[in-house]
Each structure stands twice: as structure tokens, then as C-alpha cells.
């Protein structure tokens, strides 16, 4: 978890990278993770065979279980994505029947679970670095990094303002009729943007002051080792096998 030190206060600013260090996944090169997992997700997304779909889901769950990322965290993250999965599944269920609906749930879950493991088991900046090393255009990775930084700034400002409000006895509105509570919250929402904008401006000047123009330099090691290749190979072999079975090449 990123912890912002604010003149003696410790404020929870962001919980995205909380479990990255706990998992063996963070030692795998981000490029290997991106190629292996995204390849698997693409194959899963295109599958129509129910047996293969649920086999992929079992593999995804097994991968999540072996990742050393706390199950509670992954379940929470999955529950966050569940409404979107359910919208897709229920729509298909309603229009194309229960079997297709169940397939849709299995397919989307088989895609979402490894992506959640990837996001939880990798520091966000390392993911951007991996994307850049995979030759994703610098404009995109720079935009991603600056957006991420801006979101962090906003969450830090929100945390500071929340502490400041509570320190002076403010309690959040419990109903929509609490006009004072709602006016304070709406003022807070406005102030977050104003303050984040100011800090964003200063942060950008901080980057420019150190020679930044439009592209972040690479960071981290550039060597792909045996564990990275093995990780990628497991996913690519499995994805190829699933694709072959789906296309009937093997059967």
C-alpha cells in the first residue's frame, strides 16, 4: 500500500500495490507476465466450447490460488468486477438460453481472474515499464503513468481532506435530507479537483525541472531469465493447446 506521510500523519492513499511484493509473481519480468497472461485471456475470450471454457476457468482459479496473493483480496477485486460480468451473462442468459449464459459467466471469469492476479501481483509502475519495453508507444505509456500519478494525487488529497474534516468533528451525511453534510461533501469534491490540479501542476514542473520532455526513460532490469521464460511458456503452451482444441485441430 502506498502510504503518504503528511507532516506526521500516515494516510492510506492507495491499495493497488498492496500485495505485489507478497507474491512470487512480482519477481517475474512484467513483459513475460503481460505476454503470457494476455495471450491466455485472448484465447479464453474467443472460446465457445463449454468444457474448454470451464477448464480455463479451473486453470485461472488454480493460478490465483498458487499466486500467494491473499484470497480475500482477490475475491474482493472479483466482486468489484462481478456486476459487469453479470450484466453480460444475464443478457446472454435472457436472449440465448441458460447454457450460453453460463458459458458467458465462465468465459468472462476465466479472463478476469488472471488479469486481477496480474494487476495485484505487479507494481503498477512495473506494468507500465513492461508495456513500454514491449514497444507500446511512449505516448500511451506516458499518458498511463501521468494518469496514474494524478489519480494517486487525487486520492492523497481526498485522504488529507477527509482527515481534516474528521479532525474538526464532521461526520458524513447519513441521509439525503442532511443538506449541510451533502454541501460539505460537494464542496470537498470540488476542492479535490482544484487541489489535485495545483499539485498536478507542481508535479509536472518537478518533472520538467529534471529534464522530462515527453517520454519516461526505461527503468528496471532488461534481462529475461529462465523463470520468466518458463512462466511465459506455461501460459503460451496452455493457450495454444486450448486454441487447438477449440479449432478441432487436435481432436
Amino acid at each position: 500500500m502506498i502510504v503518504a506521510h503528511v507532516r506526521g500523519y500516515r494516510v492510506k492513499a492507495e491499495a493497488l500495490d498492496e500485495h505485489a511484493q507478497a507474491s512470487w509473481l512480482h519477481r517475474i519480468d512484467p513483459r513475460a507476465k503481460l505476454v503470457g497472461i494476455l495471450g491466455f485471456v485472448i484465447v479464453c475470450a474467443l472460446m465457445t466450447n463449454s468444457v474448454l471454457i470451464f477448464s480455463s476457468l479451473v486453470f485461472s482459479i488454480l493460478f490465483a490460488a498458487l499466486s500467494q496473493i491473499p484470497g480475500k483480496h482477490l475475491v474482493k477485486a472479483y466482486l468489484g468486477a462481478l456486476p459487469f460480468i453479470l450484466i453480460a451473462s444475464v443478457s446472454v442468459f435472457a436472449f440465448s438460453g441458460p447454457e450460453r449464459g453460463l458459458d458467458m459467466w465462465g468465459r468472462t471469469s476465466a479472463c478476469v481472474v488472471p488479469l486481477l492476479v496480474l494487476a495485484s501481483g505487479t507494481e503498477t509502475y512495473d506494468l507500465f515499464s513492461g508495456l513500454r519495453r514491449l514497444h507500446v508507444p511512449a505516448l500511451i505509456t506516458t499518458l498511463l503513468m501521468l494518469t496514474y500519478k494524478y489519480l494517486l494525487l487525487m486520492s492523497e488529497e481526498l485522504a488529507r481532506m477527509s482527515v481534516a474534516r474528521r479532525a474538526r468533528g464532521f461526520r458524513p451525511a447519513k441521509s439525503l435530507l442532511d443538506r449541510y453534510g451533502l454541501s460539505v461533501l460537494s464542496y470537498t469534491a470540488g476542492m479535490i479537483f482544484v487541489r489535485s490540479s495545483d499539485r498536478g501542476e507542481r508535479s509536472y514542473e518537478g518533472l520538467r525541472a529534471r529534464g522530462f520532455r515527453k517520454e519516461f526513460p526505461f527503468w528496471g532490469g532488461s534481462r529475461i531469465d529462465v523463470p520468466d521464460i518458463s512462466f511465459m511458456a506455461v501460459f503460451l503452451v496452455l493457450s495454444t493447446a486450448l486454441a487447438a482444441l477449440q479449432l478441432g485441430v487436435v481432436l
Binding site: 503518504a4 514542473e205 518537478g206 525541472a209 528496471g220
Partner: protein, 278 residues
């Protein structure tokens, strides 16, 4: 050639607020100059303006002979190391070593790793190389921010409130570090004790320059610092009190070293004064 030369500088913000008026200032190579003044005096604005972040302005700013204009701002910045008041505004990259190497990499300097390691060693952050900067204490983040600018090997350091928000130990360490550094510095601060320790010369700024001189000269002008909304250094205050109660303090020291020497001399004078009476 002067390291920094500012002539008749005037700057207003977009909303019309006048931030700097008719400021002229020269800083020689290797000289350490402190810009002191109350809040809103234009100290931070001046540093950001010199780094090319506040335009347009009236007057001339020359950094190492290069005139600051929109077209030359990037080149001017290569010669400067700007330390922000809040290190969170400056520290960006995921690890300390990557953050320290950020500037040299952008400027395509040689031996990036060597520079970064040297800068981290000089600021005592080398043992934090693999740590996440945002998880460090405020004082450590400040050191990382300083390492980040030292790694760029700038000719002039622009330090915006370098001692603010630091605990006494970190503050003392930073003052001693900056004092020992042989580099041109322009320091914006309202910490007069720190300014007295680090700077060779002070400029009192309150939108326009109020006075200029060594701390000793400024303290000797009664009411000057107080009139500019500043408090005289604690050491000076102590010796003024000692003089007021009748001890033979010849001059008011402004740094710890000067105070130690003056204290010794005062004790000697008092001993000599007492001897004939025995």
C-alpha cells in the same frame, strides 16, 4: 561571468497579483545567497521563474550567461537544480535509485548509474536505493529529492524552503550538508537560523528587495528584520539579551560557530574585568 544575474525583474500572475517588482540580483560562482522574507513575499515564485516556469515576465534573467526566454527555458533548466518545497511534488519514480537517475537519464548524461550512486552516497540515501520513495519519511524524501538534483550535476542549486517540515535532527544534518557543499546556491527560506548558517549573503524580499547584506549586517540594523515580518535568529536574540543585562558582548553572533567564539571572548572579557576588583 556571474552564475546568475537578474535585472529589473517584474512578474504578475494571471489574476493580476503582483508577485515580484523591480528585483535586481547577482550571484557569483560558488556563492550561497538566501532569499528571506515573509509568506507571499515572492521567494518561491522567484525560484520557479528562474527555472522558466513563470512566464511572461519583464526584465532580464541570465543563468550562467544564458538569457532566460521561452525558447531557452529547457537549456536554462539543464544548468539548474530546483528543489521543491514539498518533496512529494518532485519524487516520482517507483524506486529511490530510479528516481535519482531520472534527471540524468532525461538529460542523456553519461554514467547514469555512477552519478546516481554518488548522489545517493552524498545524501546518505544509498542504503534506500531499492525502497519505494513514497513510503519514506518526509525527511528522507527530501534527501532523495536533493539526491535527484545533485545527480544532474547542475551549476546552480535553487532550494525552496529546504528545511521546512524537517525534524530538528534532519534539519541540522541538512544544514550541515548544504553548508559543506561547494556550489552556487539560491535558497528561498524564512528559516533565518538556517540562512545564517548556510548563506554567505542574504536578500530580504517582500515583492521588491528590502535590504541586502550578510546576516551580521542585517541583524545590526535594528528593526530591519522585524519590519520585514521576520524574526532574528535565536542565537542573535540570546546574545542581545545577554548584552541587555550588562555583559560585555561586543557584537551579536548569528551562527553557532560565531556564538561559541563570541561566548568565549565574552567570558574572557568578564574575567579580565573582574580581576582588578579582587
Amino acid at each position: 561571468m556571474r552564475a546568475l544575474e537578474i535585472k529589473s525583474l517584474t512578474f504578475s500572475y494571471d489574476d493580476g497579483t503582483l508577485a515580484l517588482k523591480d528585483l535586481s540580483l547577482s550571484v557569483d560562482q560558488g556563492e550561497k545567497v538566501a532569499i528571506v522574507g515573509p509568506n507571499g513575499a515572492g521567494k518561491s515564485t522567484l525560484l520557479h521563474l528562474i527555472a522558466g516556469f513563470r512566464t511572461p515576465f519583464q526584465g532580464d534573467v541570465l543563468v550562467d550567461g544564458l538569457r532566460l526566454e521561452l525558447s531557452t527555458a529547457d537549456d536554462v533548466r539543464k544548468r539548474l537544480g530546483l528543489l521543491f518545497q514539498d518533496p512529494d511534488d518532485q519524487v516520482f519514480m517507483p524506486t529511490v535509485e530510479e528516481d535519482v537517475a531520472f534527471g540524468p537519464r532525461n538529460l542523456k548524461l553519461d554514467d547514469v548509474e555512477g552519478r546516481a550512486m554518488k548522489a545517493m552516497r552524498s545524501t546518505g540515501t544509498d542504503r534506500l536505493a531499492k525502497r519505494r520513495p513514497h513510503r519514506l519519511s518526509y525527511g528522507m524524501k527530501k534527501r532523495v529529492a536533493i539526491a535527484g538534483i545533485l545527480a544532474m550535476d547542475p551549476e546552480i542549486l535553487l532550494l525552496d524552503e529546504p528545511t521546512s517540515g524537517l525534524d530538528p535532527k534532519s534539519r541540522a544534518e541538512l544544514i550541515s550538508f548544504l553548508k559543506g557543499m561547494k556550489r552556487t546556491m539560491l535558497i528561498a527560506t524564512h528559516d533565518l537560523d538556517a540562512a545564517a548558517e548556510i548563506a554567505d549573503r542574504l536578500v530580504i524580499l517582500n515583492i521588491s528587495p528590502v535590504a541586502e547584506g550578510t546576516m551580521k549586517e542585517l541583524v545590526s540594523k535594528k528593526g530591519l528584520l522585524e519590519g520585514a515580518g521576520l524574526e532574528i535568529p535565536q542565537i542573535a536574540k540570546l546574545f542581545e539579551s545577554i548584552r541587555d543585562i550588562g555583559y560585555s558582548v561586543e557584537w551579536v553572533p548569528v551562527t553557532l560557530d560565531q556564538a561559541a567564539a563570541e561566548f568565549q571572548r565574552t567570558v574572557e572579557r568578564e574575567r579580565r574585568r573582574d580581576r582588578p576588583n579582587r
